[in-house]
Symmetry: C2
């Protein structure tokens, strides 16, 4: 038979079992945390009508999208989870209750040029809260507090959620008479981290048509830094000159206050006037999340407030706030930077049962006991040398082996070996289960991410 060389497409993450288990733990932590805040899981198709996905149209999206015909249908793979959400909410509006809170952890597709750390298929983990007509500002504090709780439970410590408000930015530029250019200016200022203040100033003056005095004002404004109280105090100095600015500042103050009430420590969130988010649809609060020890990675979790989620599909006004973790990229970065906790049990089973008799009934009964106790048990009945069986358990990192021979069966006991310590005990099955459960509990108390601080 002629064989085809197996390969996985470049730009597509395909993990080996051990890292896959770490990824699963991360996703489970995300699901659990999102559910604790009243978000309902959604699952929309990966394929949509191309016309619908591209309703907004234009730009990079259209070039990157996977689009194809099947029969008469013009189809495309989703490139994010926000457009499908907009479609969903517009389509099922009458059957939903608002505010509508949903999470979705799913793959999206972008046919970008493949390069290291860039993926064409990747998970996004999104939470959004959609209001009908209105949406209370409290939600804008709750969203980053969920991210704080989730990242902390994963074991991450040195991260910072950075918060700003587009109304403050728009209001400030309006004060300078630069309201019309505000969008372009913000996109430039957004690059501050990457290109530095001097280059930002140059682009503003040379390309955005900002006069030198205003450019200085802008740089002075975005240079307002310090702890949150200091930044808010500095911003109070601008109050009274633009209604939008004043509203944005009040919102930012409310978000900051409530973030404290949610228990987010100040070291993990920071008002940052340079954050604008390049995309046009944010209208109020905006978020980015930095790994403090790896600023070069950029934001691992971003989002914000928008006034009109589904304007391409419905005349209903549906404001919302949401945030998205680029999960595949984050996982890749965590692995690259040595953040994944290798001490955590990633074996497919907790116990490998090695039957030593022809009749497998006692081994099967024991496996059922273990499974009923919530212990992951694998029966190993292959005809191999004893050493090969032990080596199998070792390679997979299975923490316990149970040997079951004629003697054990006759005496109503099992021989249970702790693979880490080498210690072997011969006890009743119920006692072995207790020992194993205690050992597993101790081993499983770590987090997926091991932040070196």
């Amino acid at each position: 038979m002629e064989r085809i060389k197996p390969r996985t497409l470049s730009g597509f993450m395909e993990l080996l079992p051990k890292p896959q288990m770490q990824m699963e733990r991360i996703m489970e932590t995300l699901r659990k945390n999102y559910a604790l805040y009243g978000f309902t899981p959604l699952d929309t198709p990966a394929i949509e009508d191309a016309q619908i996905l591209l309703a907004k149209g234009g730009g990079e999206t259209e070039k990157q999208i996977y689009r194809f015909q099947k029969g008469d249908s013009d189809l495309a793979l989703r490139f994010d989870l926000t457009v499908p959400l907009a479609k969903y909410v517009a389509l099922h509006y009458g059957e939903l209750s608002f505010p509508f809170r949903r999470y979705q952890i799913a793959k999206v597709y972008r046919g970008e040029r493949a390069q290291r750390g860039r993926f064409r298929e990747f998970y996004q983990a999104d939470i959004d809260i959609i209001g009908d007509g209105k949406l209370d500002i409290l939600n804008e504090a709750e969203i980053p507090s969920i991210i704080y709780r989730t990242l902390s439970q994963l074991g991450l410590k040195r991260f910072q959620i950075r918060i700003n408000n587009r109304k403050i930015l728009n209001g400030f530029y309006a004060m300078l008479g630069l309201g019309a250019q505000a969008g372009e200016i913000m996109r430039t200022v957004d690059k501050l981290d990457k290109i530095g203040a001097e280059n930002v100033r140059a682009i503003l003056v040379d390309e955005a048509g900002v006069d030198a005095a205003s450019a200085d004002e802008i740089l002075k404004f975005i240079a307002i830094t310090g702890n949150n109280a200091a930044v808010l105090t500095a911003l109070e100095g601008y109050r009274g000159r633009n209604a939008g600015f004043d509203q944005g500042l009040s919102e930012l103050e409310a978000v900051t206050k409530n973030l404290s009430a949610f228990g987010v420590p100040e070291e993990n969130f920071r008002v940052d006037l340079t954050i604008a988010r390049g995309l046009d649809y944010y209208t109020g609060t905006v978020y980015e999340t930095a790994l403090l020890d790896h600023p070069e990675i950029g934001s691992v979790c971003s989002g914000g407030r928008y006034d009109n989620l589904a304007e391409y599909y419905t005349d209903k006004q549906l404001p919302g706030v949401g945030i998205s973790i680029g999960l595949t990229r984050l996982f890749y970065v965590l692995g690259e930077q040595g953040y994944l906790n290798d001490a955590l049990n990633t074996a497919p089973a907790d116990v490998l049962i090695l039957p030593m008799t022809d009749d497998l009934t006692p081994a099967i009964t024991l496996a059922t006991m273990l499974r009923n106790a919530g212990i992951r048990a694998q029966l190993y009945a292959e005809q191999k040398k004893f050493k090969a069986k032990m080596s199998y358990a070792d390679k997979l990192g299975i923490p316990y082996c149970i040997l079951l021979g004629e003697d054990e069966i006759a005496q109503g006991v099992v021989s249970c070996k702790n693979m880490a310590t080498g210690e072997q005990i011969t006890v009743a099955a119920a006692d072995a289960i207790q020992t194993i459960q205690a050992g597993l509990d101790a081993a499983n108390c770590g987090t997926v991410i091991h932040d070196h601080t």
Copy 2:
């Protein structure tokens, strides 16, 4: 702005929040059960190189596949999870330990003609055990026992896993001198349930070139029914005439014996000589699963033993055994037939917190307490009339509301309303949490599926 009418493509399941929550519970039950048997979760790309996916080539698959170009690449969406597994195992052979047990619950794509109950995007939930060179027969009993446990935990009762062995069939046809036609005969016999014995006989004689006497022998053979012991006894009558038959019978006896040891009651598994599975790659044990009250649905979970998983990609001999639940179709059928338990809590939250004060700090603190206790809590801060807030909780089926006004805060209590009974208690937050947890535990003890027996 011109609007595009939102729609979801036909043949693509997109659930509302309540059924989605039921689907999530089913998937969680599957994941938990598969993990208990030592299966590791895998996640392969939805897009693969078309040449690799179609290595086996030909037939219906090629017509149904979603295949498209991107740049120079000839791409396709996976149409099952077995071909990607074969690729994975061949590609990562050196980094895996065998037997390799994996589960994968993921979407696959087939561009079939859309019709009611047929899906173009659907979940398959697969478990497979892959050996390196050899694989013990015990695995062929364990696989259906996992399905028994999983379906039972979901609440299904009236189902039957039907088991046969291709070696018995091949051996039997060899006895009749029909070895060369065995494949065609089995595909015909496989239709017995659908077209009846007379039509099977007619096709065998008219199209498969079977003589009348042999056709009668075949019909007599597949008419062997009764309990498992009776069928096995009848089969023993054929022993000694064909080595393959004898081996298949011994395997079937071993599988039957071990299924009992695994605790699968005889009413839930049955030796059935009409089961052959049309696909060529099964070589030993084969499985189908029927819903006894809905035979018209066909098999909801099928699989079997194969001798060579990845022959298109590697010269390694990789025998395996696996089974697959057509999850989307099963879910659809369960819904259609009224099997989904509507009494189960499918609300996005367990508690809706209604703050009655301007300062939201006490409400936020309470929400954090609830979440830390594992209770899903939603803060509802929207400016709405009290009645509208209650109606929101009612519509979503949220079981408890907590009211928090100045009086409660001053007295250090909360007012907690059970939405089902209307009962309201005013107690300390810790006591409310206890009451809520007890209520939730009682409400959550049901199963997702409600089998009417």
